[in-house]
């Protein structure tokens, strides 16, 4: 009996191994494990076995059943896997085809650079202030120590609406308005980004452009603080290895006044075409707030001091992104807009 069991098991295992597909495997299963299957028939003949051998035979039959079921399941799983594989293979696509286009938009490079500049100063604790573009002469000039007929007004040829109202030539009026609003309170620590206008139009000047100006007023704010602040800015904006150089200059609203150069990021300061061989590139103007400007806006220059700076966003953008013609910035050609 035991031998018969062994024989049937090995026959069945051979049949399982030989099954070519799911159907023939099912046939094998029925042939051995079905109601009329070989193993089932064998277990029905259990009564003919000696009582003493019966437990051993029962165990053998069960073991054979388990072994066969396991083999069938394994074989069946293999058939499933192969089928799935084949189905997936028929769904193969050319993965190298381009993706479905998703319309790409863009923010203007001036917006992006403006934001970069703002973020550097926000990181240093500045708030962002804004003001009107159509300004009174008082805020644009007089309150900044530029009375009528001051020769330095020529530095900023203006667009006028009347003798009293014009398009602001810088965002400095925002500084004046902020000081008025703060009414002597300290500290003042703002940047003023915005659109400004000057009567100039050539390859390096646009009648409309963008500026960011900054103003800090507090007790004991020094020219050294201005230098340190601008060094931090230059490094954040143009790379940590930048140096800055301050040169004496003149603005009616600051004293001392300084033009600020950064070490050339194209040649590292050795001299190249970008820096015209000098190793330095001018990026902004700055200085200690003129005592008269403080007085005009209600601050006592003996009690507090401050610094101010201003830069052209177009210039920074052109330098940083290698844009050679300022007119491209206002031309809005999609090929240009998409290139950033």
């Amino acid at each position: 009996m035991l031998e018969q069991i062994k024989q049937i098991e090995s026959e069945a295992l051979a049949a399982i191994a030989a099954a070519a597909d799911k159907e023939s495997l099912t046939g094998v299963k029925i042939a051995y494990l079905g109601k009329k299957g070989g193993l089932t028939a064998l277990s029905r003949r259990m009564g003919q076995v000696d009582a003493a051998e019966r437990p051993a035979v029962g165990t053998a039959v069960n073991a054979a059943k388990v072994a066969l079921e396991q083999a069938i399941n394994q074989r069946m799983a293999a058939f499933h896997a192969a089928e799935t594989e084949a189905a997936l293979a028929s769904e193969t696509i050319d993965i190298s085809l381009p993706g479905r286009p998703w319309p790409a938009g863009s923010r203007h490079i001036l917006t992006q650079v403006l934001e970069q500049i703002e973020d550097v100063f926000i990181g240093m604790g500045y708030t962002v202030e804004e003001g009107p573009q159509v300004e009174y002469d008082y805020y644009n000039f007089e309150a900044l120590n530029l009375p009528a007929d001051h020769p330095a007004r020529d530095m900023q040829d203006s667009f006028y609406f009347s003798d009293k109202m014009l398009l602001r030539t810088h965002t400095s009026p925002v500084q004046v308005r902020t000081m008025e609003r703060m009414a002597g309170r300290l500290p003042v620590k703002i940047i003023a980004p915005g659109v400004v206008y000057r009567r100039d139009d050539d390859a390096t000047h646009s009648p409309m452009f963008h500026q960011v100006e900054g103003l800090v007023i507090d007790k004991n704010v020094t020219f050294a603080d201005l230098s340190g602040t601008l060094l931090a800015f230059a490094r954040r904006m143009f790379g940590e290895e930048r140096q800055i150089r301050l040169r004496p200059s003149y603005f009616p609203f600051t004293e001392p006044s300084a033009e600020v150069d950064i070490s050339c990021f194209a040649c590292g300061g050795r001299g190249c075409r970008l820096c015209k061989g000098s190793g330095w590139i001018e990026i902004l103007g700055s200085g200690q707030v003129h005592p008269r400007v403080l007085q005009l806006s209600g601050y006592d220059p003996e009690q507090c001091s401050g610094f101010a700076f201003g830069m052209g966003v177009e210039r920074i953008a052109m330098l940083k992104y290698g844009i050679n013609d300022m007119r491209l910035l206002f031309d809005n050609d999609l090929r240009f807009l998409h290139s950033f």
Binding site: G105, T111, G125, Y126, P132, M165, S305
Partner: protein, 817 residues
């Protein structure tokens, strides 16, 4: 300002090359632009002597010359100059020489003779325009010059010009001597002033001329000196070289000396032909309105009144500080000259020069303000040069109307304040040393306080802080440390600024490209937009001095800018146009007289046109009204402003059947629609152009006002129902949706249109709308009965109010649950 290195060398021993000097001046606040080599732009031209000159037989003007150019054998040279003669020292361009302009000299055969070079005129060497004959060098060459020596070297023709960009406060450095003071400080040298001594043998000037100034404010000083026995001729070569380097053309000795002194001392001079001054008198007075005079450029000038006029006994002879008159001009025949050195009111000069359109080197200097204490010194310098180089006879003394010499400026400087402002650690001794290097007087008047006397030429220094700047720039800005302000503050953008930033990012994420256009436009844009006569946009803020008419009107809409942007791109074959722009539009004040600030409204505009790029996935449809409406709705929702409403509206520039007003609740924000085809044509755009424009601030305020919302997930399940209704297509869809929301009550949480059908079997003039409805209650599960009742209420309202009937089950493509 063109600074000649050789000229500067006369006052300071520079010891360093031009480039290093330029760098040091830059770091002291006198920024240089470039260094230009000037003079002697030629090679192979040597000093030579004419040994013999014979007329060439067949020619009427040519001579055959034997010329000793320092070589063993003399050269044969054909020369056409009338002044060529034996003994003359000349500039000889040998074979192989290169002249200014690139001309190369080669041996040429003329009248049977090979000419081995060329004898040069001043013009041929770029010295002056003189081409009347060859340049005679006998009186010009320094002793010890050898024949064969390079002419440019022998005559020191080569120089370098440092072009300095002066800041407006340093008008004093328009004078070489003042600039030399800076060079001396920058190089550690000392300055050597010209010697002004000369003899006066011509009688008392005061007996020969009287001067009267009627308005001391317009002319605080008027000094004059007289010279006689003038012979007009060329000025000395060194002076011509300096003038040329400075950018002025030499004319004659009187004009050149007058220009030279102006450039040297920053004091413009004017010269009158004394013989032509009627009544032997000068009167300085404001012009009468309507008064006329002919200036030396031959133009008749009419005055508004108040301009500074220099008059003789009978009438105006010069526009003071701006331009001389025809009648009193110095000419070849002049023998006696009156030299004027005056100080004029800068503002008056500035206005007059502007109005007459004749800015000059002189008016520029008067505008910046001359050193009033220096007037007569400059006058003496001119006389000294005339005596020395033109042999004139100087009259005795000056006539000098100088009503009120200015009080010397004294400024107190606190050592402590220097370091307080600069953040530096300069010692009192260092500060004192700077002041003395600048040549300013100083006196300690209290502990820690220095009283500094400011020289009259430094009119820019009036305050303590001006002196602090001097200390900083002379010590060098690099000596000041770099620190950070110690005040700790919280920085950031305002909530509205944050929203604008977010808005732009979202718009870009929707596939739109940000444009930046000028805020000023052409007034004609109103016509291109077909705006009717009384349209508010036709009442704009006008720039009174625009660069051109197309930049003369402050925009009241961003659309013209975007339409031009689209047209420009289309013309360049950029065909998929998706743009947005944000910026200010300017609404003039109601009773606008260009005196009151306009309202500046933060606005956004959008444009879709052209067609999406084709791809292998299949062609996307043309942009339409709904493409842009979807973007606008999404932007409003994404920044948290809530739902927008759209109402059909008419705008002249939009398609009458495809345009809508955009509202937030009942507040109009702007418009959206298809551009009117006529307007599209006006802007050279074809195909459908979809635009929108809306005010941003109300949108931002709504977003900021919405406050915190409940972010818990719903705890009880929702019931969903679909409803399909059919009715007239004349009813705007938004009314149907609003009616559903209202009738559904508080438990109706969401309404979404998922189908619109107006094809057969739907009868013409009707349409079917299908909505997905979601009902929910926060505190419990709704019963079927409650939902059924709400649904029935919706059906009833739609039928009663809009005659929209429920569609029969089964004829809807999306069967109801």
């Amino acid at each position: 300002m063109r600074v000649s290195y050789n000229w500067l060398q006369k006052y300071v021993d520079l010891k360093i090359p031009a480039e290093e000097l330029a760098r040091r001046l830059t770091l002291a606040g006198l920024e240089y632009d470039e260094i230009i080599p000037v003079g002697g732009d030629f090679s192979g031209v040597v000093v030579a002597q004419v040994l013999a000159a014979e007329k060439v037989a067949k020619s009427d003007h040519l001579s055959l010359c034997r010329v000793d150019a320092g070589a063993v054998e003399p050269l044969d040279i054909i020369c056409g100059a009338p002044n060529v003669r034996p003994g003359l020292l000349v500039a000889c361009a040998k074979v192989g020489a290169r002249l200014p302009g690139g001309l190369e000299i080669s041996a040429r055969k003329t009248f049977g003779v090979v000419s081995q070079g060329m004898l040069c005129s001043q013009q041929e060497l770029g010295i002056s325009d003189d081409h009347s004959g060859i340049w005679e060098l006998n009186d010009l060459l320094p002793a010890g010059t050898q024949l064969g020596q390079d002419v440019a070297d022998a005559l020191q023709l080569r120089d370098e010009v440092i072009v300095v960009e002066l800041t407006p406060n340093r008008g004093d450095c328009l004078g070489m001597i003042n600039l030399a003071r800076e060079a001396a400080v920058a190089t550690g040298g000392s300055i050597c002033y010209p010697n002004l001594a000369y003899e006066e043998n011509g009688g008392q000037a005061a007996d020969l001329i009287s001067i009267e100034v009627t308005d001391a404010k317009l002319c605080p000083r008027y000094a004059a000196r007289l010279v006689k026995d003038i012979k007009i001729g060329p000025s000395p070569l060194w002076m011509q070289k300096h003038l040329l380097a400075a950018g002025m053309r030499p004319i004659n000795n009187v004009v050149d000396i007058s220009n030279y002194v102006m450039l040297e001392m920053n004091q413009p001079l004017h010269t009158f032909d004394y013989a032509k001054l009627r009544g032997q008198k000068i009167i300085v007075r404001p012009a009468e309105p309507g008064e006329m005079m002919t200036t030396l450029d031959g133009k008749a000038r009419k005055f508004l009144g108040g301009e500074i006029l220099i008059c003789d006994g009978e009438g105006p002879v010069c526009v003071g500080g701006v331009m001389g008159g025809m009648e009193s001009e110095v000419t070849e025949a002049t023998t006696e000259v009156l030299i004027e050195a005056a100080a004029f009111d800068p503002v008056s000069i500035r206005r007059t020069a502007r109005r007459l359109g004749i800015p000059s080197e002189a008016s520029l200097r008067f505008e910046k303000g001359v050193d009033i204490s220096n007037c007569d010194t400059a006058c003496r310098r001119a006389v000294q040069l005339l005596v020395k180089y033109c042999g004139v006879t100087a009259c005795v003394g000056a006539v000098d109307v100088y009503s009120e010499p200015p009080v010397p400026v004294k400024v107190n400087l606190r050592y402590e304040r220097v370091n307080q402002i600069l953040g530096s650690n300069f010692e009192p001794l260092e500060i004192k040393e700077v002041i003395s290097r600048l040549g300013f007087g100083q006196e300690t008047i209290a502990p820690g306080v220095l009283q500094v006397s400011i020289p009259s030429y430094r009119r820019d220094i009036t305050l303590e802080v001006d002196l602090i700047e001097e200390v900083a720039r002379i010590k060098g800005f690099e000596r000041i440390p770099k620190t950070m302000p110690l005040n700790a503050t919280v920085g950031g953008r305002s909530p509205q600024q944050q929203l604008l930033r977010r808005f732009k990012m979202l718009a870009a994420d929707c596939g739109l490209n940000e444009a930046v256009n000028y805020s000023f436009i052409h007034p004609r844009e109103a016509d291109l937009l077909r705006l009717e006569a009384g349209h508010p946009w036709r009442h704009y803020l006008a720039i009174s001095n625009p660069l051109s008419e197309d930049q003369s009107a402050m925009r009241q809409s961003l659309l013209p800018g975007l339409l031009h942007t689209a047209a420009r791109n289309l013309a360049r074959r950029n065909l998929d146009l998706r743009f947005f722009e944000t910026g200010m539009v300017f609404l003039p004040a109601a009773d606008y007289a260009a005196q009151v600030q306009p309202q500046e409204i933060l606005t956004a505009a959008f444009l879709l046109a052209g067609r999406p790029e084709e791809s292998w996935h299949g062609q996307a449809g043309e942009y339409d009204y709904f493409s842009l409406k979807g973007i606008v709705e999404r932007l409003a929702a994404s920044i948290g402003a809530g739902r927008l409403n759209f109402q059909a509206c008419r705008a002249e520039y939009l398609h009458p059947g495809r345009s809508a007003a955009i509202l937030l609740d009942s507040l109009p924000l702007g418009v959206i629609g298809e551009l009117h085809p006529q307007v599209a044509e006006n802007y050279q755009l074809d195909g459908r152009v979809i635009v929108a424009e809306l005010a941003l601030e109300p949108l931002f305020l709504a977003a900021l006002g919405r406050g915190n919302q409940d972010h818990d997930l719903p705890r009880y399940p929702a019931s969903t129902r679909d409803i399909a209704v059919i009715g007239s297509d004349a009813v705007a869809e938004c009314h149907i949706e609003a009616a559903i929301r209202k009738a559904g009550g508080a438990i109706l949480r969401s309404v979404r249109l998922f189908d619109l059908y107006d094809q057969p079997p739907i009868p013409a003039g009707q349409r079917s709308l299908a909505y997905a409805l979601e009902f929910r209650e926060d505190s419990r599960t709704l019963t079927d009965q409650e939902v059924d009742e709400a649904f029935a209420a919706i059906v009833r309202v739609l039928a009663d109010k809009y005659q929209y009937q429920l569609r029969q089950t089964g004829c809807c493509e999306h069967p109801a649950e």
